[in-house]
């Protein structure tokens, strides 16, 4: 996902066209196969149908799971939503309570980094995104500029 500014006060985290097409193609393929096998269910024992339902659950989330991130400077809010046709989780982060964005190394990974949000109202940091260092630095700088919040980019 990359940072996309829509207007002076609104921005989102968007996916590239390639990511969207690849996801729909593979998720559609898996979902079609999962549905296709149901045609022969009369020969399947009950326990296999039971196991199939778990595979179908995976393909459901592969097809429908979405993460939407919206930045709204007018409302001073970052909304982070995960849904899979139905809402799974939601974070509403007040921008005025953000002390800083911080890039830190992911535990147990030498080349993995994560971008965290440090709030002045709570001890727990909020993990925002992860990836390699150049990508995290670029994203961190974009968020820092847009939200006017300092970025701590010292992963040591």
């Amino acid at each position: 996902m990359y940072f996309k500014q829509l207007s002076a006060s609104k921005a989102i985290m968007a996916k590239t066209r390639t990511q969207v097409i690849a996801r729909w193609f593979f998720a559609g393929l898996v979902a079609s196969l999962t549905l296709f096998v149901t045609a022969g269910f009369e020969h399947w024992p009950n326990n296999e149908v039971f196991i199939w339902s778990f595979t179908a659950l995976l393909s459901w989330h592969f097809l429908f799971a979405r993460r939407r991130v919206e930045f709204d400077l007018d409302k001073q809010l970052i909304t982070n939503k995960i849904s899979s046709l139905y809402p799974l989780s939601q974070q509403r982060i007040p921008i005025q309570n953000i002390s800083a964005f911080q890039i830190r190394r992911r535990l147990g990974q030498s080349n993995g980094y994560e971008l965290c949000i440090i709030m002045d109202s709570q001890i727990e940091q909020l993990k925002f995104d992860y990836g390699n260092l150049p990508r995290m630095q670029q994203l961190g700088q974009q968020l820092s500029l847009f939200c006017k919040v300092p970025l701590l980019s010292d992963p040591n």
Partner: protein, 264 residues
């Protein structure tokens, strides 16, 4: 401050040998070498066992592995990579030591240019860590971390800074700190409540800047606003994992309906 006054957590990485003239601090590379040496013991010992119990070509193979691994692990185990703070020469440098032989000094720089920063731990903001040059040492409580920072600052005359009282801005850490407010802050931190405002008040007391009544009122108001701010939970919580299974009964029902329709 004396070495014996340092917290135990800090005494693990600050060794008394050579103090107060010189301090050798293990770098990240040092710990990586030690870690690899310890990990390498596993294949070495198993190869050694195989070399003893097996015979023929297999024994030769494992003997060869042992001969190959042994010197590598010996080197890794005895290798010492240190950041050296040297008072007589007023320099800091990185030095490799192998079998007691000191290699060439690298990254030499004057001692006062060394970065000495007290800050929140990157992984747990209720804990504190010390950044010295490029090495980070997790310390624990604010009192301990401040003591260790002041130890480095006073022993090696390095300007100490802190990123706690006015996060994320960096300020000088004042040397004439009284221990009483720090101790109280530590107790508050241990109660696992808000450590950030506590630290803020601690350092405000230390810097002892005179504040007029209006500014203190403003600070009170902002503090109230911050306290009123809702707690933002992490995006992925255990209950979210449970929610992932919501469609399961319907999919199961669909599967059994398809099976039933197929038998009709």
């Amino acid at each position: 401050m004396q070495y014996s006054q340092l917290p135990k957590q800090a005494q693990r990485f600050i060794r008394p040998e050579g103090l107060p003239e010189q301090l050798r601090l293990a770098t990240k590379n040092h710990y990586v070498c030690r870690g690899l040496a310890i990990l390498g013991l596993l294949p070495l010992l198993s190869s050694l066992l195989m070399a003893v119990t097996l015979d023929g070509a297999q024994q030769t193979l494992y003997q060869f592995v042992v001969v190959l691994l042994l010197p590598v692990l010996l080197i890794l185990g005895t290798l010492k990579h240190h950041l050296v703070l040297d008072n007589p020469s007023k320099q800091r440098f990185v030095q490799l030591q192998i079998f007691g032989y000191h290699c060439q000094k690298a990254y030499q720089a004057p001692l006062p240019s060394t970065e000495l920063l007290l800050r929140h731990s990157s992984y747990d903001r209720s804990q504190y860590e010390l950044k010295l040059d490029n090495i980070v040492y997790p310390i624990g409580s604010l009192v301990d971390a401040t003591q260790v920072t002041m130890f480095f600052a006073s022993t090696f005359n390095i300007p100490a800074k802190e990123q706690v009282s006015d996060f994320p801005h960096i300020h000088n850490l004042i040397a004439s700190s009284t221990e009483t407010p720090l101790e109280t802050s530590s107790k508050l931190t241990k109660t696992n409540n808000q450590s950030i405002p506590d630290a803020k008040t601690v350092f405000n007391k230390q810097t002892a800047k005179p504040q007029n009544s209006s500014t203190t009122k403003d600070n009170d108001n902002t503090d109230k606003n911050k306290q009123a701010a809702p707690f933002v939970p992490p995006l992925w919580q255990p209950k979210v994992i449970l929610r992932l299974f919501y469609p399961l009964p319907f999919l199961m029902l669909f599967g059994f309906i398809m099976k039933y329709l197929g038998t009709l």
